[in-house]
């Protein structure tokens, strides 16, 4: 009897070591060597990190990069057949590979962009601060004249 229990206990371990079954989701890897935290930790706690960061950002203006959702979206973007990143509507989307399997519905992407923006000159990051550059040029010239 004891041997039978031992055999039952050992069985799952043996299965795990033999490799993960095909039905276990395999989310696509992000860019770079590693994620912002250990993989096992991220699997278990990423939702808490995101929620904590969201409250800090919205209410307190804290904008650290580590658990920023836009960072996840940029790094883990999956390209579709047309070569452009897929949106959350596609089952290939990074978040959906696990969330579809686990049947956990997320509503992040009802408001947040689910893929990196198409590169245009009009986006906030890319907008040239031409007025400020003009100011800077004048100021730099003035400072150079001071230094001479």
């Amino acid at each position: 009897m004891t041997a039978l229990i031992a055999a039952v206990l050992v069985l799952p371990a043996a299965t795990a070591t033999a490799g993960e079954p095909a039905w276990v989701p395999k989310p696509p890897r992000g860019r770079g060597d590693k994620c912002v935290a250990d993989t096992a930790w991220m699997r278990r706690y990423h939702m808490m990190a995101l929620m904590h960061h969201r409250d800090e950002t919205v209410h307190e203006g804290i904008r650290t990069k580590r658990f920023d959702l836009t960072g996840c979206i940029d790094c883990h973007a999956v390209k579709g057949a047309d070569g452009k990143p897929v949106s959350f509507a596609s089952p290939k989307h990074f978040c959906r590979t696990c969330h579809d399997y686990a049947a956990v519905q997320i509503d992040c992407f009802e408001c947040h962009a689910s893929r990196p923006p198409a590169k245009t000159a009009a986006t906030s990051e890319a907008a040239p601060a031409h007025a400020a550059k003009a100011n800077a040029a004048v100021l730099a010239q003035y400072l150079r004249s001071l230094a001479q």
């Binding site: 307190e60 904008r63 650290t64 009802e110 408001c111 947040h112 906030s124 007025a131 730099a140 001071l146």
Partner: protein, 271 residues
């Protein structure tokens, strides 16, 4: 060019600018070296393009990304209606581009973070224009009425909607005396990453909080200075040395429906 001539007050923090007035032929080498170093440092910083606005247009004091907002700052706007061109929509277009809202083909319910108003005196027919948006009140009625706490005022005076908590009841829209808020009726996709907005939530001008947190000025103010009439000024009302505080102290300004006691952060001139 004299010290601080550009947009005024930009060099108010002292440093290299103050030295220009005292320059003479008797400058010793040590002082000359100091100035050289100061110039080099300033140019390097400016080349990186990070702190440009702290010299040019009214600065948003750059905070560290991990630093909390402080109530020492009170962000505000000063809008000179006499410089606001009739028919000019530079601020509205810039806001739409920056934050990703646009007409949905339903004018009654379209989102409207900022709009231009044309005001006419019915007696003599004189008109003027002004932009109208969230007035970022000190005592915001929208925050008072919100049943979930989604409508809130940040420590630095910016009034926002936390869309994670908003249930879309639209009570705040009714409470706002300025009709500054709108409701998203249709599902959206590909929003701006820094300006999330979605169906079923209320939204309004955020004073470009994502830019202010980076030390930049709101998109409408930038556009008005670049392609509009230069009617808008952004800055810290609590800082007596800021350009906006100086102008608010020096000139007669008006706040729309000041009688309501909301203490708006948006000041107007010539209305």
């Amino acid at each position: 060019m004299s010290c601080g001539a550009k947009s005024g007050g930009g060099c108010g923090s002292g440093g290299a600018c103050g030295c220009a007035a005292g320059r003479s032929d008797t400058i010793d080498n040590a002082r000359r070296d100091f100035l050289r170093g100061a110039a080099a440092a300033a140019v390097t910083t400016l080349a990186a393009g990070v702190t440009l606005y702290s010299f040019g247009a009214e600065p948003a004091a750059a905070r560290a990304p991990g630093e909390e907002v402080s109530s020492k700052v009170r962000w505000g706007l000063l809008i000179d209606a006499s410089k606001c061109g009739d028919g000019c929509t530079a601020c509205v277009t810039a806001c739409q581009t920056e934050n990703g809202w646009h007409s949905t083909g339903h004018p009654e319910t379209d989102p409207q973070w900022i709009r231009t108003l044309k005001v006419e005196n019915p007696i003599n027919g004189t008109t003027f224009s002004l932009p109208m948006m969230c007035q970022h009140c000190t005592n915001p009625p929208c925050v008072d009425v919100c049943p979930t706490g989604a409508s809130f005022k940040r420590a630095d005076g910016i009034v926002l909607v936390d869309k994670h908590i908003c249930i879309g009841c639209r009570y705040c829209m009714m409470a706002c005396p300025y009709k500054a808020r709108s409701f998203v009726h249709e599902p959206l996709e590909d929003q701006k990453p820094y300006a999330p907005r979605g169906k079923g939530t209320v939204e309004s001008c955020t004073l470009c909080v994502h830019r202010v947190d980076q030390g930049r000025i709101p998109a409408c103010v930038e556009a008005c200075n670049d392609t509009g009439g230069g009617a808008m000024l952004f800055g810290d009302l609590n800082d007596p040395s800021s350009e906006i505080a100086k102008r608010v102290a020096a000139y007669r300004t008006t706040r729309v429906r000041a009688d309501l006691g909301c203490d708006p952060g948006v000041y107007y001139r010539n209305i």
